[in-house]
Symmetry: C2
Subunit: 114 residues, 2 copies
């Protein structure tokens, strides 16, 4: 369901530096050079990271003269949120089911299962 379309996003977020870049452009639209200045690696590395983020749909690119401005694209995180929320609720449901089963087994005469 949300596997093929968010596969690139998962791989993109696996890199800590890309997550840092993403947080950097979450609130402000920054140029590639401004982003690169915030890290201790080459501008080349940042440019490649930005390409990965863009192809994963996590950032948008806008050209203004010779500069390229980047901004976080929240829609790109939709698939991730679906996966996490699905996992979260499923696992929690199982937890509740187990608690209920345990309570029912240890005391079939009571009804404090909430």
């Amino acid at each position: 369901m949300f596997e093929d379309e968010s596969d690139d996003a998962f791989r993109a977020l696996a890199e800590p530096r890309r997550r840092a870049i993403l947080r950097l452009v979450a609130t402000d639209e920054l140029a590639a050079g401004e982003i690169a200045a915030a890290f201790d690696v080459t501008r080349t590395a940042i440019s490649q990271h930005l390409t990965v983020l863009r192809e994963a749909g996590l950032v948008s690119e806008r050209r203004a003269g010779t500069r390229r401005l980047y901004r976080a694209r929240p829609e790109g995180l939709a698939g991730l949120r679906e996966f996490l929320d699905s996992m979260w609720s499923d696992a929690l449901d199982v937890g509740r089911r187990l608690v209920e089963a345990e309570a029912a087994e240890q005391a079939e005469h009571r009804t404090d299962v909430a």
Copy 2:
């Protein structure tokens, strides 16, 4: 804030097969062999994936005789959810702010900014 503690989880989820394993044990507690039987790779590979997932706090391991039963651990996804929700709301706030600014610039005499 939630960087060092969820770094392993991000890397673990970057692998599609590990996400498949996680979904497999989200609702049912399965043994390593049962999990391995669901894929076309060696049990060794699955065992290594399970080690990665366990060290990332995404699954719990319970021994029963010679078997080892695994189950998804929803708490392991907490850091991820925090990151995603933070990114999501921040980026959306900026989006609303931009819409408001644009509306205010194009029509300073109206008040339909919601």
